[in-house]
């Protein structure tokens, strides 16, 4: 089976002040990668004008682009409009669902969405007490359940989970431990481990580190722009050479 070259980045935080800058950096991406995955925080404030900049920067590339939103993209309560706008521009936006990208006869399955927080096993919030606390934890639990279903239903040769929030602590190293519950949740890893995946891509933790692994052995990569410091990173699946 042909190797797949997965380009990934997150936290590009585009706005009017960066119009045209990111696009320049990804010109020629088709020579390096078969698909571009973008792990959320596409904008700064989640406004429509910012989303238009995102659409301009990411649309019309010679390779498919699959994206999820991040917490910043929800800030102006326009998340659904942003999703519609990006989809109209030809970008596949996952909102707790899966998609199959055919690449030269190889089916790449990508499932995911924004994700959410709650913390990690042993030091996490529980669905107990005040309604606000229960709602916080329930949000992540419901997302994880939808991802589990989406992964199960994917009929693909390779599967990748694309998220904004982190599934593990490994890739948060460098962030203050006190804020880990706001950076991710073990429930996201649990969903991926239950159904299996080749790779888990996320962003959100700007001060974190790139590489980690879920308890079930799925490789995790934090591709937040300030972490990878490149326009994108390329991961090759199924083979020694791309």
């Amino acid at each position: 089976m042909r190797e797949l070259r997965i380009a990934a980045v997150a936290d590009i935080h585009l706005g009017e002040d960066l119009r045209g800058h990111y696009r320049k950096k990804i010109e020629g991406i088709e020579r390096r990668a078969d698909v571009l995955l973008v792990g959320g925080d596409l904008t700064r404030h989640g406004t429509i004008p910012e989303a238009q900049v995102v659409a301009e920067e990411l649309s019309g590339l010679p390779i498919p682009v699959v994206a999820v939103l991040g917490n910043h993209d929800y800030h102006s309560d326009c998340d659904q409009e942003i999703i519609d706008l990006l989809r109209d521009a030809g970008i596949v936006v996952l909102d707790d669902e899966g998609t199959v990208v055919p690449i030269d006869g190889v089916r790449l399955g990508v499932a995911g969405g924004k994700g959410f927080g709650g913390g990690f096993a042993g030091k996490c919030a529980s669905e107990f007490g005040e309604p606000e606390t229960k709602a916080f934890v329930r949000h992540t639990k419901e997302i994880a359940e939808r991802w589990r279903r989406a992964l199960k239903e994917l009929d693909a040769d390779h599967k990748i989970v694309l998220s904004h929030y982190s599934p593990v602590k490994d890739t948060l190293m460098g962030e203050p431990p006190e804020i880990y519950p706001f950076l991710g949740s073990y429930m996201l890893a649990e969903a991926a481990d239950a159904e299996g995946a080749d790779l888990f891509i996320h962003g959100h933790a700007h001060a974190g580190t790139e590489k980690g692994v879920t308890p079930g052995g799925i490789r995790v990569r934090n591709v937040a722009l300030p972490v990878i410091k490149h326009a994108y990173t390329v991961y090759c699946l199924n083979g020694d050479h791309c």
């Binding site: 002040d17 950096k25 800030h75 700007h206 490149h230 991961y235 090759c236």
Partner: protein, 81 residues
């Protein structure tokens, strides 16, 4: 003098919640009358806006802008998984 701990918390919240900045990843340290801002942003304009918002949230204190710009490099080596 206001407790530095609360000044730092107020500045950090302002940087996150003010529409001019919405920056969650800036570290704010207050030592006496000095405020230190550290972190990374994508352009000089954002760097200056952060300083402006921090000054407004900590009037009378001296703000040191130690924020650096993220240099987005061309893609490097790929990783084989």
């Amino acid at each position: 003098m206001e407790t530095p701990h609360y000044v730092a918390a107020r500045v950090q919240r302002a940087l996150a919640e003010d529409d001019r900045t919405t920056e969650l990843g800036i570290r704010v340290d207050v030592r006496g009358e000095e405020v230190y801002l550290r972190g990374q942003v994508s352009c000089d304009e954002r760097r200056h806006q952060i300083e402006n918002v921090a000054r407004e949230a900590a009037p009378g204190l001296r703000v040191h802008n130690e924020i650096t710009l993220v240099e987005v490099r061309e893609p490097g080596e790929e990783e084989h998984l």
